[in-house]
C-alpha cells in the first residue's frame, strides 16, 4: 500500500479521485449559481451559508483547495514524465486517426482552466477572504447577488468566462469517462456512463455560460 502513489496506476487512481471530487464540486457550484437566476434572495442566503458555515469554511474549503492543487500539480508532473518517455518525436504523427483531440490535449485545456481559476479567484474568492478574515467585516445581510450582477456587466469578463467554459467542456468530454476507466470501471454500464459523461460535460459548462450571459444582458438587481 505504501508505494501506491509512486506507481503509474496509483497516480492515475489519485488523479481520478480528485477529478470525481472536482466534478461533484462543479455540479454543486452550478446549482448554487443557478439560484442567482431563479431566486436572488435564496442565492444570498445560500452564499452567506457557504461563506460563513464553519464546516464549509474550515473543512470543505481547505479540502477543495487541496483537491484543486493536487489535480493541477499531478497533471503537470505526469505530463513531464510522459514527455520523458518519448524523447525523440515522430517526423509524422497522425494522432487524429486513433484518438480525440480532447484526449490528446488535456494539459492545454487544463492549463487554460488553471489560468481562468486565477482570474476567477481574483474576482470572487480573494475579495471575500479579505473582507471576512483581513478586514473582519460581517457578511450578514450582504447582497451577494448584486456583486455577481456587477461583475458580469463587463463584456470582456463575460467573454473570458465563456471561453473558459469552452475549455472546461473540452476537458470534461475526455475527463469524465477517463476517471471511471482509471479506477477500473469498464463494464456493461460503461456505454451509459459515457453518454451521461458527454451530457454532463456539455450541459454543466453551458449552464455556467447561460448564467454569465443572463446577468450580462438582463442585469436585474
Amino acid at each position: 500500500m505504501s508505494g501506491i502513489l509512486n506507481s503509474s496506476i496509483g497516480r492515475k487512481f489519485a488523479m481520478a479521485l480528485s477529478a470525481f471530487f472536482l466534478m461533484f464540486f462543479l455540479l454543486q457550484h452550478f446549482v448554487i449559481n443557478l439560484l442567482s437566476v431563479i431566486s436572488p434572495e435564496t442565492f444570498n442566503e445560500v452564499s452567506y451559508f457557504m461563506g460563513n458555515n464553519p464546516f464549509v469554511q474550515f473543512l470543505l474549503q481547505p479540502v477543495l483547495l487541496i483537491g484543486v492543487l493536487f489535480h493541477f500539480i499531478m497533471g503537470f508532473v505526469l505530463e513531464i514524465k510522459n514527455r520523458k518517455a518519448r524523447q525523440i518525436s515522430y517526423a509524422k504523427n497522425n494522432g487524429g486517426a486513433n484518438s480525440s483531440w480532447m484526449s490528446r490535449n488535456m494539459i492545454w485545456s487544463g492549463g487554460a482552466i488553471l489560468l481562468f481559476m486565477i482570474f476567477h479567484f481574483n474576482d470572487f474568492w480573494v475579495p471575500e477572504i479579505v473582507e471576512k478574515y483581513v478586514e473582519g467585516k460581517s457578511q450578514l445581510g450582504k447582497d451577494f447577488h448584486h456583486h455577481v450582477v456587477e461583475m458580469f456587466l463587463d463584456p470582456l469578463r463575460v467573454g473570458v468566462y465563456v471561453l473558459a467554459f469552452v475549455f472546461l467542456a473540452l476537458h470534461l468530454l475526455h475527463g469524465f469517462d477517463s476517471a471511471f476507466q482509471s479506477v477500473g470501471a469498464n463494464n456493461k454500464y460503461t456505454k451509459g456512463l459515457k453518454t451521461f459523461g458527454k451530457l454532463y460535460a456539455i450541459l454543466v459548462p453551458l449552464g455556467f455560460v447561460f448564467i454569465a450571459l443572463y446577468h450580462h444582458f438582463f442585469h436585474i438587481h
Binding site: 496506476i9 487512481f13 510522459n82 509524422k92
Partner: protein, 248 residues
C-alpha cells in the same frame, strides 16, 4: 505504383540518425509493405548501399516482430493488422510514405527501423506466468471448470502478440495495454489466482522502472492494436493493482 519513401536511417544505437528520401518504382498493389521494403533493399544492395534494417519474422501477422510507424500510425493506416499484413493497395501512386521506428525511451533504436523491445520480456519475467509443477502429476487444465465468459475474455487478452504498437502509438509511450492484457489473461482464470497479488504488483513495478509513460486513456492503443486488445484490460489491471496494493 511509384512512391517516395522517407525512411529513418540510423547506423547504430549511438548514431543521431536522420530521415532519408528514396524513390521506388513499379510497386505492385498486391505486395505487402515488407515485400516493398525487400525490393527497396535489393535495389540498395545492387547499388552497394547499406540496406534498410527492419524487424520481421513470420510474415503471417502472428509473431509480433514487425513494427514500423508508417505515415504517423503504428503498423500503418490499415486496422487489425501488423505491418507484414499491410498491403500496398492501401496507398496511392505518387504517395510519400514516412517510415519510422517505434518511438519510446523504453524502446531504444538498435539500427534504422529496429528497436529493442526487451523491456516487454523483462515485464513478462516479473510476473507474466503461472508456476505449475510439470513433473508429471499436473492436473489437466481442461479438468478445471472455467466460466465461458471469463474463458473468452482471457483468450482475447492472450491474443496480445507483444508487438509494442500500443506503446508506439500512445502519446505517453505507455505500455498499459500490453501489461493489462498480460495481467488479465491470468486474472480471469483459476490458475492465475494463486499468484495474482505478486503478479500485478511486480509487473507494474517493472513497467514503471523501464520508463514507459502514464496512461491518460486516449484509447489510441486499442485502435492501433493489431489484435484488437480492449481497454477493458487496462481497467481490469487497475482493479487488480488496487486490490493487490490494499492486500500487500
Amino acid at each position: 505504383m511509384n512512391l517516395t519513401l522517407k525512411i529513418w536511417r540510423q547506423k547504430n544505437a549511438n548514431d543521431k540518425g536522420k530521415m532519408v528520401d528514396y524513390q521506388i518504382s513499379d510497386v505492385s498493389p498486391d505486395m505487402s509493405f515488407l515485400e516493398m521494403l525487400d525490393v527497396l533493399n535489393e535495389q540498395l544492395i545492387n547499388k552497394g548501399d547499406d540496406p534498410v534494417a527492419f524487424d520481421h519474422d513470420c510474415r503471417e501477422g502472428i509473431c509480433g516482430m514487425c513494427s514500423l510507424y508508417i505515415n504517423g500510425e503504428a503498423h500503418g493506416p490499415d486496422r487489425g493488422v501488423t505491418t507484414c499484413q499491410l498491403h500496398m493497395r492501401m496507398f496511392n501512386d505518387g504517395d510519400t510514405i514516412y517510415i519510422e521506428p517505434f518511438r519510446a525511451s523504453a524502446f531504444p533504436v538498435v539500427k534504422d527501423l529496429i528497436v529493442d523491445r526487451s523491456a516487454f520480456d523483462r515485464i513478462q519475467h516479473a510476473g507474466g506466468f503461472i508456476s505449475v509443477n510439470t513433473s508429471g502429476n499436473t492436473i489437466d487444465a481442461n479438468a478445471i471448470p472455467v466460466e465461458k465468459h471469463n474463458a473468452d475474455k482471457a483468450f482475447e487478452a492472450a491474443t496480445c502478440i507483444g508487438c509494442g504498437a500500443c506503446v508506439a502509438t500512445c502519446k505517453n509511450s505507455s505500455a498499459m495495454l500490453f501489461v493489462g492484457a498480460k495481467v488479465s489473461q491470468f486474472a480471469l482464470l483459476p490458475q492465475g489466482q494463486v499468484e495474482a497479488t505478486d503478479r500485478v504488483l511486480n509487473m507494474v513495478k517493472q513497467m514503471d522502472e523501464e520508463g514507459f509513460g502514464n496512461c491518460t486513456n486516449t484509447g489510441a492503443c486499442e485502435v492501433e492494436c493489431p489484435k484488437g486488445i480492449s481497454l477493458e484490460n487496462i481497467a481490469r489491471m487497475n482493479q487488480e493493482y488496487l486490490k493487490a496494493s490494499l492486500k500487500g
